[in-house]
Symmetry: none
Subunit: 200 residues, 4 copies
DNA sequence: AATGAATGAGGCTTCATTCAT
DNA sequence: GATGAATGAAGCCTCATTCAT
């Protein structure tokens, strides 16, 4: 079938890269994991770098796509924010491998890393839009910088997911864990930590 | 001064490791940067790994120390939170190199990475304590999980700093940038994004 | 025409091999240049080596053929020498690609290289015969070793052509260049460089 | 001692490169032949290419040097020509390995090859100067192009040497072989092949 | 304390060749 | 006849580490 091998390599590459990081990952391992010869990888991809970049591009695309799908056409900003939160946590949790790469391979001056930061910026902008919309409608507090706030939220989300994924003592099913993280983040973002005098 | 050479190596190592990440960094580069022979590094450190770990340990120590210093004995939880925020952002911003390493070299199963996560946990616990204290005093809203909230806050802080450091188009002095980030994070954490009916 | 594909491959192979030399040349490039799939080349030729040898054989054959044609039945040794010179320079200049391969791929102990030297010997023998004929008729000075002299002449011819082909600053049409080279070589071979007392 | 290892590598590299040509030669073989580890070669040379170029540069330098030495201050053009011939043949014969590389690795567009051709040009110019000097003094026949003639002579010399070196059936001591080649070339260059009417 | 030459395991990549379609 | 995906042996190069001085 068309692209079956490529699919296989792709899949294995995610595993291997996520397990070891870009530098530590060995093409040999990707090949073994994919059940193909080393040369086959080079037949389909120009090299380690290209394979990795293709991978991350794909991951980002799918993530953005899924988030859009889950947010749907919900008009209410608060509900939109919740949906986005849910979607993002869910995806990152599901693809922890990808989450890890995103956070660890995005800081630096190598070209690839700049591209990754650009991708992150896309995610951030998704959040930003919601914040702006909410502020315009008056249901969200106006921010000094919607962009900076969005960045902070993205950081909170991704690090929360990663910290959870790498916690040895975590319990419960994935669904429960995700629900917990989402609820927690939602609480923080929506209400802040301080007791507001006007609320019960 | 005692250990001038060691100091030199240490300093250069921070630069080089931060610029390239652990794997990409070359002992050769550290040596050249420090103006010593390669052998000298191995005379003072057991190896690349040890040098790096010593580095990170040192960075974390100094960070914790500085944060403690800046938080002082402030009893009011909200002010404590603000001081902590200010201290953490300031330190990470100042030592962006360290911030980068912390975020990119902490996710994985290599022993060193586990140690880093433990260090992160220390930072998180600093935040956590403030949250708990605030909740006990009644000025902070009780959280589902103070720990998770603290993690989220740490993520927000560190990613905000990194994103800012790696933004090519950022303007203003460092002090201004830091102040902006702090204010923004404070706003988010303290009040959340939603307009609460009881506030003006 | 019969063997159109083969013809295509052959033609492309000359180009590619000449451009890169035997080792550097890639079957992939030959295939791309010929507009066929890589497998097709292996369908028609046993391998890289065979393709190359076939090529060189063909080149030598055509060269010998053309030289014979141009020398015709000229009985006078001096005129024969001139015709041979003209023919050889012309052919090598025209097929510089071939000339290059001949000079660069003929020295070594690989079987193929021995075969090439044998081919060169054929060319040398063409020259040798003329020298011997001339010596027998008395119009040529007797040589210590007609064979060695013939080799030297071949070297002079081929290197002259190559040096000219690879001179970036050469000017004039091909015909002019060839005529120049021929005239020069003729002068050298026929008269030597020393002024003989008996000549004007 | 200073540079002993480098000397060793150099020497081995000549052997290996000459035996196999640039592409076929393996750094591994050079290392084994030199009795050092592979890494040692890379400690002293940037890579295969640099090693090779350094080699050829060195070879050309020594050759030019030796030729200059042997030609000395001889004022008479004819004797100068003979000395040069003798020196060049002697050197190439002695360093057949180098001769082979010179002739086989000099034709192409790779930068290194351009450098080699430049080196060849130096040799050619040595010859050219003698020709010009002789022509000015009136003892040499004026040439259409002294440069082209010099090139032809260089070609005759180098190919003669190589052909001889690779002749399986050659007999006699090296000195005899060299003497034969020199005499033959001298005869060809000095007098040409044609019987001049004015000589006995 | 410091040096830097030497090492060699390890990883990336190339490319001639095969073979099922 | 022709294809092109797949292979894997082979080779170049890197770099952490060692050690004699």
């Amino acid at each position: 079938m068309r692209g079956e091998t490529i699919e296989q390599i792709f899949h294995s590459a995610v595993e291997v890269f996520a397990h070891s990081g870009f530098e530590r990952a060995k093409i040999d391992d990707v090949a073994r994991h994919a059940g193909v010869a080393k040369g086959t990888i080079y037949y389909h991809f120009k090299g380690k770098e290209e394979l990795f970049v293709a991978l991350m591009r794909d991951g980002m695309e799918k993530m953005t796509e899924q988030i859009h799908r889950q947010m749907g056409r919900e008009p209410d900003p608060l509900r939109r924010l919740r949906a986005l939160l849910q979607a993002q946590v869910e995806y990152l949790y599901e693809h922890g491998t990808f989450a890890k790469l995103l956070l660890s391979e995005s800081w630096g001056s190598v070209e690839r890393q700049q591209e990754f930061r650009a991708k992150i910026r896309e995610l951030v902008e998704l959040i930003e839009e919601v914040l702006i919309q909410g502020a315009e409608e008056g249901s969200f507090r106006p921010q000094m910088s919607h962009h900076d706030t969005a960045v902070a939220m993205f950081g909170a989300i991704s690090v929360s997911v990663l910290q959870d994924l790498f916690s040895p003592e975590r319990t419960g099913t994935r669904e429960e864990r995700v629900a917990g993280l989402v609820a927690n983040l939602e609480k923080l973002f929506v209400d802040g930590v301080v007791v507001s005098k006007g609320k019960t």
